[in-house]
């Protein structure tokens, strides 16, 4: 077996994690007293906001230990038919995430998440931050931070969702999972039925690949391929991300968020290399609610993006984007099944829409296409709150930039996602 020198850092990185986790596991076996802890922040579920999702996970911890560990795994089978053609049934190991948290000391805590996608094709630290708790309304966070744009970026764990695929808007327009090196503040306040939370961070940001990439469209996720974003900024100023969310314990939660900054450098080594400051501005709104009588859960998110695209560049890369998704989840059976005390079967549906290029062609005045719709009905089985088996059928209409007849595709997906 040969190991490419280019893979060596990745190998060392993975080995470090595996060794660390093994040591932790061995220690735990010897101690024989690992206990699950639902939420190390000790918030009750009603006061959890989407922005708390990173901390609202099932962790295992050893009694007396300051360290907790957890993770989740997602895998599925998929059969896709595009315009009558198929490459057959395929199996996908989408991702495995491992997270660890630690109470370092008084007012100091640490949380990290390592994600391994597609069996190791992508390995990265999604989150690694230290929090300094000063006051419920004012705390400090620094390290590798998940930018709080929309809700899905922070609340993306597979076991929480009834669908194998992540929402198109969240992963093909917004860059979930999007994290960067940076610092910021966050806080939360409770008053009777109401909870108000906010986050605001300055981080490194996007690079020019968002309007120069092989996806052939303005594509914020393109920057994720640039690993240097954890050590340098590609704009003259940092990326600003801020979110405010308000929740009523009966009605649900609404969040509004903004992420914006410059994605090019005008100066380098004292030389002017560009005359225009190219900026982007992203606005998102998210809702999460539950209809009490029917126990129907509704989750939705919409975003609009504005990007500076030079006038002499090609309109292939749009200067405005918009999209949304909405999930409706209806529990239909909830009772002991197969020995699981609180098993549940859900019927769900998702509507996805992304328009990567909003506007009209300068040459003809006709509408630019480059958009996609998808509907996904789903049936899912949850033996417990931490595991979900999902059976989805996704039908998708993809229209090219010229607005030619849509390309149709359908996918059958069957898979599971579970915390461990």
């Amino acid at each position: 077996m040969t190991i490419s020198i280019l893979n060596l850092p990745k190998l060392l990185f993975t080995t470090f994690w595996i060794l660390g986790l093994s040591c932790f596991a061995l220690d735990a076996i010897q101690a024989q007293d690992m206990v699950p802890e639902r939420n190390p922040t000790h918030d009750d579920q009603d006061s959890i906001l989407n922005m708390d999702a990173t901390y609202n996970r099932p962790f295992m911890t050893k009694k007396g230990s300051a360290v907790a560990i957890g993770g989740y795994l997602e895998a599925n089978a998929i059969h896709t038919i595009e315009e009558g053609l198929t490459e057959g049934l395929m199996f996908q190991a989408r991702r495995m995430s491992i997270f660890m948290s630690s109470s370092i000391g008084k007012r100091l805590s640490f949380l990290t998440e390592l994600e391994i996608e597609d069996g190791g094709k992508t390995i990265g630290i999604e989150f690694a931050s230290m929090d300094v708790a000063l006051h419920p309304l004012f705390n400090l966070r620094g390290g590798i931070i998940m930018n709080p744009i929309g809700a899905f970026n922070e609340n993306h764990d597979g076991p929480k969702w009834e669908f194998v695929e992540r929402p198109d808007m969240a992963v093909q327009m917004l860059p979930t999972t999007w994290s960067n090196a940076g610092f910021g503040i966050f806080g939360k306040i409770h008053h009777q039925q109401w909870i108000l939370g906010y986050e605001a961070y300055l981080t490194n940001g996007f690079d020019g690949s968002i309007i120069d990439n092989e996806m052939h469209k303005t594509y914020l996720p393109a920057t994720k391929a640039n690993g240097d974003r954890f050590e340098e900024s590609f704009g003259d100023r940092p990326l600003t991300t801020a979110k405010i969310a308000v929740k009523n314990r009966r009605w649900g939660e609404v969040g509004v968020s903004y992420m914006g900054g410059q994605f090019n450098r005008t100066m380098e080594d004292g030389l002017q290399i560009a005359s225009d400051h190219l900026r982007l501005h992203t606005f998102a709104i998210d809702i999460t609610t539950k209809i009490p009588v029917l126990r129907t859960e509704v989750t939705g998110e919409a975003a609009r993006i504005y990007v500076d695209v030079p006038a002499s560049y090609t309109q292939q890369y749009g200067n405005q984007q918009q999209g949304f998704f909405i999930d409706v989840v209806q529990p239909i059976i909830q009772k002991p099944m197969f020995g699981w005390d609180n098993a549940r079967i859900n019927l769900s549906g998702r509507l996805d829409y992304v328009d990567w290029n909003v506007g009209t062609f300068r040459e003809t005045g006709t509408a630019i296409g480059d958009h996609q719709w998808a509907v996904t009905p789903s049936i899912s089985f949850r033996p417990s709150g931490q595991t979900v088996f999902r059976f989805n059928y996704r039908y998708q209409w993809t229209t090219d930039i010229l607005n030619n007849p849509a390309e149709l595709s359908a996918s059958w997906l069957f898979g599971f996602s579970t915390y461990f």
């Binding site: 198929t86 290399i273 560049y313 059928y393 010229l402 359908a410 059958w412 069957f414």
Partner: protein, 399 residues
């Protein structure tokens, strides 16, 4: 729990066993322009696939050599679905040499195509003041291998430069000097050192290698071993695309199937075809041609129906942009193949943009723009009763 287990198993069996029945159906072959000619060898199919990926999927970025100035960012951006292009990616050629010389030879890379788009940090070129110019919408690229395999002898047999038959139509081949890297066709009939050019709206390129190399260089700003001059700096540069990729794309273009006519048995279409011949549209838009030898067996000695004679014709003042290319006159255009015309809207965003610059927004508008040698046919069309006009257009839409 048994019924639940049985139901679950039934659902899974349904899932694994009948997925294909719940997906979108495959479009009819005659509704598509892409796809290879039949019975290619396995080796040819592999290379077709490589060419397909290079042509339709390879997107040029700054890192891969795009620009700094350019017109398009991929082959597919101009030829969506291998069909006719959209004005969104139309390009401009200007000020080529005429009897007074090329007064714009010092502009840009000295070539005649405007690079009006630029990567961030650069400015696209602006048309030099006073330059005559033509705008071009990209043509469909299907069936090109058949046109490539037509013999010079066949083309010359269709030519009548002095209108000896007195029908008012006097097509001539475009003789020009090929670049050094092309391989001359077997049984070529040169005129001195000039050879018959056949691709492009003014028949400005010799073969599909020449066309491909020019398009990469002038449309995307990609240099190759065949044409290492960067259109921005005018300097020689390392190749930004591999020779194998160029060869794959050339084979892909050669082996794209010919468009398949639809509704051939519909009475309206049959009647329209007769009108097409009666008013002499077919004098230039030659319905049937024959290939000669081709290294690709499936292209050798085949009869096909492109509706072109590959000759330059005087198209009259309305289509005379004052711009010349090679040895074509400003008013001369190579007869556009009409095959695939009825599918133009499927690659032009549900509308049609016809003629060389997309100025005609319907087939009728395109017919009415014909002048010069086509003036008689246009006049005859105008005198047709409405029903016959509809029949003619139904036929053209079936191509």
């Amino acid at each position: 729990m048994k019924p639940i287990i049985i139901t679950s198993l039934a659902v899974l069996i349904l899932f694994f066993g009948s997925c294909e029945h719940f997906g979108p159906p495959e479009p009819e072959e005659h509704d598509l322009l892409d796809g290879p000619i039949e019975r290619l060898t396995i080796e040819e199919q592999k290379q077709f696939l490589a060419g397909d990926i290079a042509f339709n999927d390879e997107i040029f970025t700054v890192e891969k050599g795009l620009g700094p100035v350019f017109v398009g960012t991929s082959c597919g951006s101009c030829h969506a679905g291998d069909g006719k292009g959209h004005p969104f990616v139309k390009f401009t050629r200007f000020g080529q040499s005429d009897s007074t010389g090329n007064q714009f030879a010092t502009f840009g890379d000295g070539r005649n195509q405007l690079q009006h788009k630029a990567i961030p940090g650069y400015e696209g070129q602006v048309l030099p003041e006073g330059a005559p110019f033509s705008e071009f919408v990209a043509p469909s690229v299907t069936g090109l291998g058949y046109l490539d395999a037509v013999t010079d002898e066949t083309i010359l047999a269709l030519a009548d430069p002095d209108d000896l038959d007195g029908d008012g139509i006097s097509g001539r081949p475009h003789y020009n000097y090929p670049p050094d890297y092309v391989h001359y066709r077997q049984n070529s009939i040169p005129n001195g050192e000039k050879y018959i050019f056949r691709f492009g709206k003014k028949a400005s390129t010799y073969d599909l290698l020449h066309q491909t190399v020019d398009a990469y260089n002038q449309d995307i700003g990609i240099t190759s071993i065949f044409d290492p001059i960067d259109p921005y700096s005018g300097l020689s540069q390392d190749p930004e695309i591999g020779t194998q990729t160029i060869n794959d794309v050339v084979l892909y273009l050669k082996t794209l199937k010919a468009p398949i006519q639809r509704d051939q048995d519909v009475p309206e279409v049959i009647a329209g075809k007769k009108i097409f011949e009666d008013i002499s549209c077919s004098s230039c838009h030659t319905p049937t041609l024959q290939t000669g030898f081709s290294p690709i067996a499936q292209l050798s000695y085949q009869e096909f129906h492109p509706y072109t004679d590959l000759l330059l014709h005087d198209m009259g003042p309305e289509l005379d942009d004052g711009y010349t290319e090679g040895y074509a006159e400003t008013y001369e255009w190579r007869t556009a193949p009409l095959w695939g015309l009825g599918l133009a809207a499927d690659s032009q965003g549900g509308q049609v943009y016809l003629m060389h610059d997309g100025r005609a927004r319907s087939i009728e508008e395109a017919i009415l723009l014909h002048g010069g040698e086509a003036e008689n046919s246009r006049n005859e069309y105008q005198e047709l009763p409405t029903k016959k006009k509809e029949q003619l257009i139904a036929f053209l839409n079936s191509l």
